[in-house]
C-alpha cells in the first residue's frame, strides 16, 4: 500500500473591501427616451462579473427587467470614480453605489409616471416587467418607455441618478492595531480529501465539500463560477504554484506555462458546494463578496488532509511532492492517521 487517503478541514472569514484611505465608488444611471437604462461605471470586469451583477442590482432597484439595463464600464471620461476591482470590494462598494444611483433615478421615474397617471408617486409601484401601475389597480398602468418619453419630451425631467458609496478611512492605532478593517465578512469551511503516494510524495485531489457564506448570492451562477474557479486556484496554490520554486533562493524561475505549473483539466476533482446567505446590513441586498475568500480555505484544508493521510505536516507552500517525500522519509515512512 503506497497510496493513502486523508481528509482535512479549514474554516475562514474574509474582510470585504479595503479600509486604508477611504474606499469610495460612484455610479451614474440614466434612461434613454425608450425607457432603457445605462449604468456608467469606471469599474473593471476582469471576469468576476462586475457588469452582470451591477446590472441585476440596478434592474432590481429600478423595478425594471434586467434586459432593460446595460452596464458600461471603465471609461475615465464617462464613468465616475471607482477605486478599482480588488479587495473583494466590487459587489459591495460598486453594488451599493449603483443601488443609490438607481434609487435616485427610480424616484424621478416614479414622479414622471405619477404626473402622467395623475396620482401621487407614493401610490405607484413597478411590476418588474417594464410597467408602472397604481398599487392595487394594475389596469391604471404606464410603460417605462412611455414614462421616459413623457419625461424627456413633455415634462423636461431627466430620469437619472447619481450614487456613491464610501467607507471612510479607518485610522489604525500604532500601539494596539485598533481599526475598522471592513464593514462585513464572508465565511467558509471546506473539507478536502486527498490521496498521497508515499513513494513519490505526489498528492492527488479526490474531492472537496464546502460551505460558503457570502451575504446574498445575487446571481447563483456567477457565485458558482467564482467558488468553483476560486477553489481550483486554492488547490493550485496549495500544491503547485510559485514563480520561485527554491524560495528564498531566487533561481530556476519558471518562464512559461510548462514550468509554471497549475492543475490541468485532468487534475480537477468533484467539488460539492453549499451557499449560505446571512445578509450584511450594509451590503447591496445583503451581498458581501465571494471573489477572494473562495480560494483561502483550500490551502490549509489540503495540508491538513495530507497530515491525515500520511502523518506529516508540510508548513511550506506550495506543498510539492518533494516536500512531502522528504517529510515522509524524515519520519521513517508514512503514518496514516485515524480515517475520518
Amino acid at each position: 500500500m503506497t497510496r493513502h487517503r486523508g481528509r482535512g478541514i479549514a474554516s475562514v472569514n474574509y474582510p470585504i473591501g479595503m479600509n486604508l484611505g477611504g474606499d469610495p465608488s460612484q455610479a451614474l444611471v440614466h434612461s434613454n427616451p425608450s425607457g432603457k437604462f445605462t449604468v456608467a461605471l469606471s469599474s473593471i470586469d476582469l471576469g468576476q462579473g462586475m457588469k452582470s451583477v451591477t446590472r441585476q442590482i440596478c434592474a432590481e432597484t429600478l423595478g425594471v427587467p434586467v434586459e432593460d439595463v446595460y452596464v458600461d464600464t471603465a471609461d475615465s471620461d464617462t464613468g465616475p470614480h471607482c477605486m478599482g476591482s480588488f479587495a473583494s470590494r466590487g459587489t459591495h462598494r460598486v453594488g451599493n453605489a449603483v443601488m443609490a444611483a438607481a434609487r435616485e433615478a427610480r424616484g424621478v421615474m416614479m414622479e414622471a409616471a405619477a404626473e402622467e397617471l395623475e396620482v401621487s408617486a407614493a401610490d405607484l409601484e413597478t411590476d418588474g416587467r417594464g410597467n408602472i401601475h397604481v398599487k392595487g389597480a394594475p389596469h391604471r398602468s404606464i410603460s417605462t418607455k412611455d414614462v421616459a418619453i413623457a419625461a424627456q419630451f413633455k415634462q423636461g425631467k431627466t430620469i437619472s441618478g447619481r450614487g456613491i458609496f464610501l467607507v471612510p478611512l479607518s485610522n489604525v492605532d500604532p500601539e494596539t492595531g485598533e481599526m475598522s478593517p471592513a464593514t462585513c465578512y464572508a465565511h467558509a469551511c471546506l473539507v478536502a480529501e486527498v490521496e498521497v503516494d508515499d513513494e513519490t510524495g505526489e498528492v492527488t485531489m479526490i474531492r472537496m465539500d464546502s460551505a460558503y457564506e457570502l451575504g446574498r448570492a445575487l446571481n447563483p451562477r456567477l457565485v458558482e463560477q467564482q467558488l468553483v474557479g476560486g477553489a481550483w486556484m486554492g488547490v493550485s496554490h496549495a500544491l503547485y504554484e510559485t514563480p520561485e520554486p527554491y524560495y528564498p533562493d531566487p533561481v530556476h524561475g519558471p518562464r512559461d506555462f510548462v514550468e509554471y505549473i497549475m492543475p490541468g483539466p485532468g487534475d480537477i476533482c468533484p467539488h460539492d458546494i453549499a451557499v449560505l446567505e446571512r445578509p450584511a446590513p450594509d451590503g447591496p441586498f445583503g451581498a458581501k463578496g465571494p471573489g477572494e475568500m473562495c480560494a483561502n480555505p483550500v490551502l490549509p484544508a489540503v495540508a491538513n488532509a495530507i497530515f491525515n493521510a500520511v502523518g506529516v505536516r508540510i508548513d511550506d507552500l506550495p506543498i510539492t511532492p518533494e516536500k512531502v517525500l522528504r517529510a515522509i522519509k524524515a519520519e521513517g515512512g508514512a503514518r496514516p492517521q485515524a480515517r475520518r
Binding site: 478541514i9 479549514a10 474554516s11 486604508l20 469606471s42 473593471i44 470586469d45 476582469l46 471576469g47 452582470s52 446590472r55 441585476q56 442590482i57 432590481e60 423595478g63 434586467v66 471603465a74 475615465s76 464613468g79 476591482s85 480588488f86 479587495a87 489604525v172 500604532p174 500601539e175 494596539t176 485598533e178 481599526m179 465578512y185 465565511h187 473539507v191 465539500d209 464546502s210 460551505a211 460558503y212 445575487l218 467558488l227 486556484m233 504554484e241 510559485t242 514563480p243 520561485e244 524560495y247 518562464r255 512559461d256 460539492d272 453549499a274 451557499v275 446567505e277 445578509p279 446590513p281 445583503g286 477572494e292 475568500m293 480555505p297 490551502l299 490549509p300 491538513n304 508548513d315 511550506d316
Partner: protein
Amino acid sequence: MLELRKDIFADERDDNLNEIGKGTQRQDMLGHVTGTSSYFNDHKLQGMLHLKVVRSTHSHARIRRIDTADAERSSGVRRIIRGSDVPRNLNTLLSLINFGKDDEPSLAVDKVRYKGEPILAIVADSERKAFEAIAKVRIDYEPLPTVFDVEDALKAGAPVVNETYPKNAFIYHDVYDHQKLRFGDADAALATADHVLEQRYQMSPIEHAPTETNGSIAAPDTNGRYVVYTSTQALFFSVDTCAKILDVPSNTFHFIGGTVGGGFGGKVDTLTEPLCILGAMLTGRPVRYVFGREEEMQYGPPRGAERIYIKDGVMRDGRVVARKVRAYFDSGAYTRLSSYAAVKCAAHLPGPYTIPNVYGDVYCVFTNRTPATAMRGFGVTAMDFAIECQMDKLANLVGMDPMEFRILNAYRDGDMKAHRREAKNTALIECVQVAAEKAKWPIRDEFKRASSRKDGRGSRAAVPRTPTDTRGGTTAPTQQRTTYDRQPTTALREPPREPPPPPPQPPRPAAPSHGAGRFSSVFGTRRR
C-alpha cells in the same frame, strides 16, 4: 454542484425579489463566446510603435554607465527613454492615499534593486527592432551584496535594498518597523496555558498568471489629450498614478478599459501605462507596451512570500487562550502594496475565532526580488494557511475533532475582535456545520446546535487589559521624508516619541516645479 441553503438565516432575508437571486446570463457572455469582447490589445491604431524595456541583469547593483550610442543608431528605433526623461521618476502606488513614501523609479537611474528592474524603454517600429536595439545597449554594473531572506534583511548590517527604507522595513506610523496588534496579555496567558505550540509557516511567492498579460496602448488624441487602452484593474488608480509620474493634469488622459483578461491582483500596479504614455508623448505616435509571458512571470509582481511564526496557548478543554504571531511580508525591492497587506493581515488576527489574548507583529520587508503586489486574498491567504494548519495541530494536541474544535473557538455575534470592533453578522459556525453535513463528517449534537447568534457577548465582548510596548521603534529618523507621508494617526494619543525632523528633500532628476497644492480628481487634495 452548488446548493443554496435558503433554510439557514432565512429570517434575516427577504427572498421576494425580481432579479436578485436569479442565475441571469452574464451581460458579457455573448461577447466572450463570439470573441468580440474588446480587450486593451484589440485596438488597431495607424502607425503604432512598440515599446520594450531594458531590464537589469543584476539583483542589486550600482549603475556606473549606460551606453545607448549603438542602440540609438539601430534601425527602426524612434526613441530611447531614460529615467531622466520621466518627469517624476519616483513614486509609490499608495501615495495616492497618502500612505508611504515615494520609493520606486519608473526607470532605474543610479542603482538597480532587483533582477529585471526596468532601466531604459526603447520605442521602435516593431518589436523585433526594439529587441535588436536592446541587444546593443551596454550597461556597466557594479554588483552589490544582495539579500533575499526576510529575516536576514532585518538583521543589522544587511545590505540596504531601498534607501528610502534603510532598515529594509516599511515604517508604520512614522515610528515602528512593523504593524502591531495588541489585545489582552498574550504572554501571561501563554504562561498559564495547558499546552503551548509554536510553529513556523512559509508561503513562496505566487504568480497571478492571467491569460492576458499586462499591457497598454497609448495614443495622442485630439486636443492634446491621450487615449489609453489598458488592462488595469483599477482605472482611476492608473489615471492618477500616470498623472503624477508624468506631471500632467489627470484629465490629459482618456483611459478606456473595463474588459480585462483576468487580473487576480496583478493588474493594479500600473506597470505599463506611464512609460507607454510617455513614449506616445515623446514620439507623437501610438505606442504599445505589452508584457511577454516570461516578463509577466518573472518581472510582473507576484503575490509576495510570507513567513509566519505562531505561538498558541490552548487549554485541555480545547479553548485557545492566547495567540502570538510574528509575520514577515516579502515586499521585494519596493513597497507597491505590501505595506497595506501587512495592516490588513494584522486586522485579520487571530482568524475567525474569539481568543482573549492576541499579539501580532507584522513586518513589510524589502529584499532584492521582484516587487510583490496584491493577489486574491491579499494579506490573508498565507495567514489563513498558517492559522488553519495551527488549528488542526491544536485540535490534535488536545484530542478534539477539528470541526468541533473550530466551532468551540469560533467567533460569534457580539464578541469583541482583536482589532477592537464588535463581531457582527458572523456565520463561521454555520459554515462548519454545513460543510460537516455535506462531507458526512460526524459532529456531536451539542456542536450541531451551536449558533453564531447565540452565546457570544457578555464577557466575550470586553476589551481586556492590554500591556503595550515600544519594541521595534525606529531609533534614527528615516532617511527620506516626502510630503506624501501619512499623517500621524495618533492625534488623540500621546505619541511614543517626537516625529523626526524632516530632512532636506533629496535631489530629483529634472523634476519640473509644482504648485504648492493640487487638486487630484481622484483622491482629493494632495499635500505637497
